[in-house]
């Protein structure tokens, strides 16, 4: 009775995964390399090179890069502050809890929140104008723009970084610092020779994870900038909705390009994470 039971137990999982995760994705991947007649072709991939699509990828990459770098460094600073900064204990747990919430607070509501803050009638805009005489819109700022979107994305990128990197900073053993001190090292020598080399794989890996996270996001952008900022997911959305590109297979190619980028990013993330975990055994 043993052999069948365990395979029966895991079967639903695998059937589900194959039917609703692997096959649909493969279907799209294959479709990217087919034309309407069903023959193998690279013309869809080639067609990705048209200006509007390249522009979409480029904007996506820029937004993802900007928000992931800003989020990563800000998140690292906050993580170091709450773990090593000598702050009261409650700050650390409160920050981690809030980060857990904030990293999930994405999508449409987040866009609303930033519109309420930095939109033309937003609270921050108004306060800056009335209290400090600084009219940011007159100076060219606009929440409905590349930097507005980046600033909004950072709201869930920073918490994600904090949650992931805090364990890595925890892993910096107190004894290392003490050992370095007895061996004559100053604080900056210790950071330069031990801390940074130990932390940077985790850090870089997380930057990449943040990048992939931003690249695939659509709801926030859709709610905030609509189709005025044509990032790849929005392009794909329009294509699925109404075949705006007049070529169904081109849609597959766009999806393929997305998976390629996020997939590659995740491979690098895993590689960096395994490397740092091996050291910190």
């Amino acid at each position: 009775m043993r052999l069948p039971t365990q395979w029966l137990g895991v079967a639903p999982f695998f059937i589900f995964a194959i039917m609703f995760l692997i096959l649909p994705t493969l279907y799209l991947m294959l479709g990217a390399f087919q034309n309407d007649a069903g023959e193998f072709t690279l013309e869809n991939i080639v067609a990705l090179a048209q200006p509007s699509i390249v522009a979409a990828y480029w904007i996506s990459i820029k937004v993802s890069l900007a928000s992931s770098l800003i989020g990563a460094f800000a998140g690292l600073a906050i993580a170091i502050a709450i773990v090593r900064g000598g702050l009261p204990d409650w700050i650390r747990s409160a920050t981690l809890t809030f980060s857990g919430v904030a990293s999930n607070f994405a999508g449409v509501p987040l866009a609303f929140a930033f519109l309420a803050t930095l939109g033309r009638l937003g609270l921050a805009t108004v306060i800056l104008n009335t209290l400090f005489g600084l009219n940011i819109y007159a100076h060219g700022f606009n929440i409905l723009s590349f930097w507005g979107l980046t600033l909004t994305y950072v709201y869930f990128q920073i918490p994600l970084m904090v949650v992931i990197i805090v364990p890595a900073i925890d892993g910096l053993k107190k004894e290392w610092g003490e050992a370095a001190a007895t061996l004559g090292a100053t604080m900056s020598q210790y950071w330069r020779m031990v801390v940074i080399p130990v932390i940077w794989p985790s850090f870089l890996g997380t930057v990449i994870l943040l990048f992939a996270n931003a690249f695939g996001a659509i709801a926030t952008a859709y709610a905030l900038t609509g189709s005025s900022l044509n990032i790849v997911p929005i392009l794909l959305y329009a294509q699925i909705r109404g075949d705006v590109l007049h070529n169904a297979h081109l849609g597959y190619a766009i999806a393929f390009g997305m998976i390629l980028i996020t997939g590659l990013a995740n491979v690098f993330y895993i590689w960096f994470r395994t490397r740092s975990e091996r050291w910190l055994k």
Binding site: P24, T25, V108, L123
Partner: protein, 263 residues
């Protein structure tokens, strides 16, 4: 170390400002509906809106089905892999990583193409089928979190030893799963469930592309057409997310803690 502490406070203050100002601004904006005075009018309008109630109810129902589906798929798999099939673990962990790699929009695109009206499994041909497909899509999105929560819970209670102890005492598989494993894993399952709930309530992409009357598309629609209600909705959404996360934290205090080292 004093200089270090000063900068830590500075960083923390800046971070707190960045994260709280939008929340405060949103609350403030949401209360501006009545001209000249702060009020909760926007909230009243939103909560009284029939479409709000309908779409919110739809999403809640979808979330419940998603959680049930997730539990049925994940719990047995996680259990058997821990107990008998450790060699499958790398494959399963890879699979649970996929929804984080493949964006939701690509997944739902795949569904539309594969399960359309003229496919062997025409989910999209009927309303019920499309609703089912949405729940399936949500289950896929929450798979990584559900699996990780259940797997951690199983690891903490040392499933193997519990199962062997129960078997020696004469219990059959049914008894083992329902009276030994499930009660101990319930807390972990609930944690996964609340995270799933938070994900489903706010989800936009899949619901929109499958044309389902869910909460996400409703939010987006309100945002495009109204001024103050979106802010109220954002606060409501944030409160719900906060509530889910807090419940998970509270639950984790009740989780069984193992005296043994987890394997």
């Amino acid at each position: 170390m004093k200089a270090g502490r000063f900068w830590a406070w500075v960083v923390f203050a800046l971070g707190a400002a960045y994260f709280f100002i939008p929340l405060i601004a949103t609350v403030e904006f949401s209360m501006r509906m009545r001209r000249g005075a702060y009020s909760f009018d926007a909230y009243k309008v939103v909560l009284g809106d029939a479409r709000f109630q309908a779409t919110f109810g739809y999403s809640v129902l979808a979330a419940v089905f998603t959680i049930i589906l997730g539990v049925l798929i994940v719990v047995p798999a996680a259990y058997w892999i821990r107990l008998r099939l450790p060699q499958l673990r790398p494959i399963v962990e890879f699979i649970t990583l996929l929804p984080l790699v493949i964006p939701a929009i690509v997944i739902v695109f795949g569904y539309i193409r594969m399960y359309g009206s003229n496919s062997p499994l025409p989910f999209l041909a009927t309303d019920t089928g499309t609703n089912a497909l949405l729940v399936i899509g949500y289950a896929t999105l929450s798979l990584p979190y559900m699996y990780r929560a259940v797997d951690t819970g199983l690891r903490t209670i040392d499933v193997r030893t519990l199962t062997e102890a129960a078997q020696i005492l004469g219990a059959g598989w049914g008894t083992i799963v329902t009276r030994v494993i499930l009660p101990n894993v319930l807390i972990a399952v609930l944690s996964g469930a609340f995270l799933t709930f938070a994900i489903v309530i706010g989800e936009f992409t899949m619901a929109s592309l499958l044309n389902r009357p869910a909460f996400g598309p409703y939010l987006q629609n309100i945002g495009a057409n109204r001024a103050y209600e979106p802010a109220a909705l954002a606060i409501i959404a944030f409160a719900i997310t906060w509530g889910c996360m807090s419940l998970i934290q509270i639950l984790s205090r009740f989780a069984p803690k193992s005296a043994n080292r987890p394997n």
